[in-house]
C-alpha cells in the first residue's frame, strides 16, 4: 500500500495539469478534424474518427488504472479529491437520457418537462444532508455492506442486493440501448452491432481497474460531454443574439415562442386542442403527478447505489460533502442549458417549419426524416418531394405545414441543433461523441455497482468469506463481463418499455433503500426486524404497483380498486366501463399499446411515481415494527454514534 501511494502521489498531485492537458488535447483534436473537414474528408470518416478516438482514450485510461488491490478496485483507494469526484459523479449521473433526451422532453412538454430537471438535481441535497457523508464514515464498499452491518447480517444484505440489482439492471440496459442508438445514427452501424461495440468500450474502461479506472475515465468523459453539450448552443446563441450565454438569451426565444403560439392559433395553423403553450404548467401532467415525479426522482437520487458509492471514494467525510456540492454544480451546467436547447429548437420549428408553404421547408430535416425521426403529413420527411406528395394526399391540406402535420422524435432536438444553426459537421460529430461519453460513463458506473454487489456482497460475504484477494478480484471481473453481456443482450432485443424503466428505477430505489438508509442513520431505535419489514413492504408494494398497473391493469381494476388516471383537465384517460367489458380486459403481461396499460392506478398516480406509495409504507413499517421489537444493542447504538462523527477511523475496516 505504501509503494502504491507514492506511485499515485505524482498523479494525484498533478490532476489539474493532467486533465488540463487532456482538455487542451481534446480541443486540438476537434480543431484538427475541422481542418480535415475543410479539406474535404467525408462526414462518415469524421464520425468514425470522433467515436474511435474518444473510446480509445477512455480505454487507455482504463488500462493504465488497472489494479490488483481490493480497496483500489472497490473504492479507488479512497483518495479521489472532492472536485474530481464531483466531475466523475456528474458523468456517472448524466446518461444518454439526460444528454439526448432531456432537451427533447422539454421541447415536447414545455413547463411540465421541468419536473425532470428539478427532480434530477434537487436530490443531491438529500444525498449530502441525509445519507452520503454518513455512509462514507461507515467505510463500506457497497450499500448492502451498510444494510448488513446495521441490520443484522446477511438477510438484510440479500434484500439490499435484490433492490440494487432491480433498479440498476434496467437502468444499465437503457444506457447500452442509448449507446447503440447514437452509434448506429452517426456511424451507420447496424443497431445490434453498435450495442456490442459500445459494450466493448464500457468493459475496456472498467474491467481491469474497477472503481479506480471508472473514476479517472468518468472525469475524462465528463469533459467531453460538457464541451459537446455547450458548444453548439453557445455558438447558436452568439449568432442569434450576440451573447455567448444561451442560458440568458433563451428568455427572448421563450417570449417569441409565446407570441408565435398566439399567432399560430389566429392563423389556424394550430388548434387549442393540439397546441400546448410552452410556459403553461400542468397541461401534460396533472399537478399531482408533476410534484410526485419531482419527489420520486429526488428521493431516488439519494437511494441509487451507483451514485451513493461514488461518495465512498473521497479521502474524508468533509470532502464527501464538498464533493456532493461539486457534483451538483457540474450536473447543473448541463441541466440549466437543456431548456435553452428546447426553446431554440421550438422557435425554429414554429417559425421556419410551421406556417411555411410545403415546398419551402428547410433541408436540415431531411437527414432525420430519412431515419423516420421527423414526419410531415404522416410520412417520413426524407426528401422535399416526399413531403409535397404526402401533404397532397391529405384531404383539404392548405399547402402550408400545420402543427398537426409535424411529428418529431425527441432525440432529434439535441442532435440536430448544430445543423439548424448551420454549423459544420465536425460539431455534429462532437455532439455524438458527447452523447456516447454520457451513455458509456453511466453504464460503467451502473455495471460496477451491480458486479460489485454480486462479487463483494454475494460471493465474498455470503458464499466464500475466505477467498483470497486474487480470487475475489477475478470473480469481480468475470461477473462484470457476465452482467455487461446480459445487459447488452437485453438491450439488443429493443425492449419496448426501456425509457419508462429508467423512471421506474428511481421509484424502486426510493421505496427499497431510502427509508432503511435514513432510519438506520438518523434513528438509533430502528431495529433489524423493522428494517427488514420496511424494505420488503415498501419495495414490495412499489413493485406490485408498477407491475399491476403496467402489465395486469384489468386485474388491478377488478380486484385492487384501481381507477383510470386522469388528464390535466380531470377527464379519465380510459373509459373503464368499456375497457373492462372488452375481451382483452383481463389479459396479463399486456403490451404497452393495451388500452389500460399504465393508465390505471390509485389516487390518479402514474406508475413512474410508484415510490410515492412504497416509501411511506417503508417508513411506517420500520417505525412500527422497530417499536414493537427490542431496541438495538448498546454496541449497535454506539456504532450509530460513531458514524455521526467525522473524526476517527471508519467503522468498518474492510480488507
Amino acid at each position: 500500500m505504501a509503494t502504491q501511494t507514492s506511485n499515485d502521489g505524482g498523479f494525484l498531485n498533478n490532476l489539474g495539469k493532467i486533465y488540463g492537458l487532456y482538455t487542451g488535447g481534446f480541443l486540438a483534436f476537434v480543431v484538427f478534424l475541422a481542418i480535415l473537414e475543410m479539406m474535404g474528408v467525408p462526414n462518415r470518416v469524421l464520425g468514425y474518427l470522433f467515436v474511435f478516438f474518444t473510446i480509445a482514450v477512455y480505454a487507455i485510461i482504463g488500462v493504465l488504472s488497472r489494479t490488483a488491490e481490493v480497496s483500489e478496485y472497490y473504492v479507488a483507494g479512497r483518495k479521489v479529491p472532492a472536485l474530481y469526484n464531483g466531475m466523475a459523479t456528474g458523468a456517472d449521473w448524466m446518461s444518454a437520457a439526460s444528454f439526448v433526451g432531456m432537451a427533447g422532453t422539454l421541447f415536447l412538454l414545455g413547463y411540465d418537462g421541468l419536473a425532470w430537471v428539478l427532480g434530477w438535481t434537487g436530490g443531491y441535497v438529500l444525498v449530502s444532508v441525509l445519507v452520503g457523508p454518513y455512509l462514507r464514515k461507515f467505510g463500506a464498499y457497497t450499500v448492502p455492506d451498510f444494510m448488513s452491518f446495521r441490520f443484522g447480517g446477511n438477510f438484510a444484505r440479500m434484500l439490499a442486493v435484490i433492490v440494487l440489482v432491480c433498479c440498476s439492471f434496467t437502468y444499465v440496459t437503457a444506457q447500452i440501448f442509448g449507446t447503440g442508438i447514437i452509434a448506429s445514427r452517426f456511424l451507420g452501424m447496424q443497431f445490434e452491432v453498435a450495442v456490442f461495440v459500445g459494450l466493448a468500450g464500457i468493459l475496456l474502461c472498467s474491467m481491469l481497474g474497477g472503481m479506480r479506472a471508472v473514476t479517472w475515465t468518468q472525469i475524462a468523459q465528463y469533459i467531453v460531454l460538457i464541451v459537446a453539450y455547450l458548444t453548439p448552443i453557445v455558438i447558436l446563441s452568439t449568432k442569434k443574439y450576440g451573447i455567448p450565454i444561451p442560458e440568458l438569451t433563451y428568455g427572448q426565444a421563450i417570449a417569441d415562442i409565446t407570441a408565435r403560439e398566439a399567432q399560430m392559433l389566429k392563423d389556424g395553423l394550430a388548434t387549442a386542442a393540439n397546441l400546448k403553450p410552452h410556459i403553461q404548467p400542468w397541461i401534460n401532467y396533472t399537478q399531482l403527478n408533476f410534484f410526485a415525479i419531482v419527489l420520486c426522482m429526488m428521493v431516488g437520487t439519494a437511494s441509487l447505489p451507483h451514485i451513493l458509492m461514488r461518495y465512498f471514494t473521497t479521502p474524508s467525510v468533509r470532502e464527501a460533502r464538498q464533493s456532493v456540492a461539486w457534483s451538483l454544480f457540474f450536473i447543473f451546467l448541463l441541466y440549466f442549458s437543456a431548456p435553452a436547447y428546447a426553446a431554440f429548437s421550438k422557435l425554429e420549428v414554429y417559425t421556419n417549419i410551421i406556417g411555411r408553404p410545403v415546398a419551402e421547408i428547410r433541408p436540415w430535416m431531411f437527414q432525420w426524416g430519412e431515419l423516420g425521426l421527423i414526419q410531415i403529413c404522416g410520412k417520413n420527411a426524407a426528401t422535399l418531394q416526399a413531403v409535397i406528395d404526402a401533404c397532397k394526399a391529405v384531404a383539404g391540406h392548405p399547402g402550408v405545414v400545420r402543427l398537426q402535420d409535424f411529428v418529431i422524435n425527441t432525440d432529434v432536438i439535441v442532435l440536430s441543433t448544430p445543423e439548424i444553426a448551420g454549423l459544420p459537421y465536425v460539431i455534429s460529430g462532437l455532439v455524438a461523441a458527447g452523447g456516447l461519453a454520457a451513455a458509456l460513463s453511466t453504464a460503467d458506473g451502473l455495471l460496477l455497482a451491480i458486479a460489485n454487489a454480486l462479487s463483494h456482497d454475494v460471493y465474498y460475504k455470503m458464499i466464500n468469506p475466505n477467498a483470497p484477494t486474487v480470487k475475489r478480484l477475478t470473480v469481480a471481473r468475470i461477473l462484470l463481463i457476465v452482467v455487461a453481456v446480459a445487459a447488452a443482450a437485453t438491450a439488443a432485443t429493443r425492449p419496448a418499455d426501456i425509457l419508462a424503466m429508467v423512471g421506474w428505477a428511481f421509484s424502486l430505489a426510493m421505496a427499497g433503500n431510502f427509508p432503511a438508509l435514513v432510519m438506520g442513520i438518523w434513528w438509533k431505535r430502528a431495529t433489524t426486524a423493522g428494517a427488514i419489514a420496511g424494505i420488503i413492504g415498501g419495495f414490495g408494494i412499489a413493485i406490485m404497483y408498477l407491475v399491476v398497473t403496467r402489465y395486469f391493469p384489468g386485474f388491478g381494476v377488478a380486484y385492487l380498486g384501481m381507477s383510470s388516471l386522469t388528464n390535466a383537465a380531470g377527464a379519465p384517460l380510459v373509459d373503464l366501463a368499456k375497457a373492462m367489458a372488452a375481451p382483452n380486459a383481463m389479459d396479463s403481461w399486456v403490451a404497452a399499446s393495451h388500452p389500460m396499460a399504465s393508465k390505471v392506478g390509485w389516487f390518479g398516480l402514474t406508475n413512474i411515481a410508484a415510490g410515492m406509495i412504497g416509501m411511506p409504507v417503508g417508513f411506517a413499517l420500520i417505525y412500527i415494527v422497530s417499536l414493537m421489537t427490542k431496541e438495538p444493542s448498546k454496541e449497535m447504538q454506539a456504532f450509530v454514534d460513531e458514524i455521526r462523527k467525522p473524526r476517527g477511523r471508519t467503522v468498518l475496516q474492510e480488507k
Binding site: M1, S71, Y111, L114, L118, T121, G122, Y124, V125, S128, V129, P133, F149, G152, G153, N154, E247, Y250, G251, Q252, I254, A255, D256, I279, Q280, P281, F291, V294, L295, V317, R318, R321, Q322, V324, A325, L328, F332, Y335, F336, P339, Y460, K461, P465, N466, P632, S633, E635, M636, A638, F639, R644, K645, P646, R647, G648, T650, V651, Q653, E654, K655
Partner: protein, 124 residues
C-alpha cells in the same frame, strides 16, 4: 487505511458476518481506540453536536422543500412576472431552484464542517 486491520472477535452484533472479514476500529469496544473516551463529557459533547447537526439538517430540508416544491405551486401566478423574456414561474423551475440547490450544498458543507470543528469531531 493505516494498516491496522485488526481481526478477531469484535463483539459484532451480526454474528453471521465472519469475524475475519469485519472488525470494528478495535478488537473490543471497551478497549483503547475511539471507544476509549466514552466518558460522560464526551457523550454530552456528542449529544450537543448531534443536536446542532439535526437542526442544520432540518433547516436545509426546509430550504430544499421551499425551492423544490412550495415555490412551484405558485408557477401560474409567477409566470405573469416576466424578466428578460423569462416568465418567473418557468424560470424558477428551469434555473432558479437549481442555482439555489447548488449554493445551498456549498453552504451546507461549510456549515456542517464548522459544527464538526466546534465540537472537536472534525477530521484533522
Amino acid at each position: 487505511m493505516g494498516g491496522a486491520m485488526i481481526t478477531g472477535s469484535s463483539g459484532s452484533p451480526s454474528t453471521s458476518i465472519p469475524p475475519s472479514a469485519v472488525a470494528f476500529g478495535d478488537s473490543n469496544w471497551e478497549g483503547n481506540g475511539f471507544m476509549s473516551q466514552t466518558t460522560k463529557d464526551t457523550s454530552a459533547n456528542d449529544q450537543a453536536h448531534w443536536r446542532k447537526t439535526t437542526n442544520l439538517m432540518w433547516t436545509h430540508l426546509a430550504i430544499w422543500f421551499f425551492f423544490g416544491y412550495v415555490i412551484h405551486f405558485f408557477a401560474p401566478a409567477l409566470n405573469k412576472i416576466v424578466i428578460f423574456g423569462f416568465p418567473l414561474g418557468f424560470y424558477m423551475a428551469a434555473q432558479g431552484s437549481l442555482i439555489a440547490f447548488v449554493v445551498q450544498l456549498f453552504m451546507f458543507a461549510k456549515q456542517q464542517d464548522k459544527i464538526d470543528r466546534e465540537f472537536g469531531v472534525a477530521e484533522d
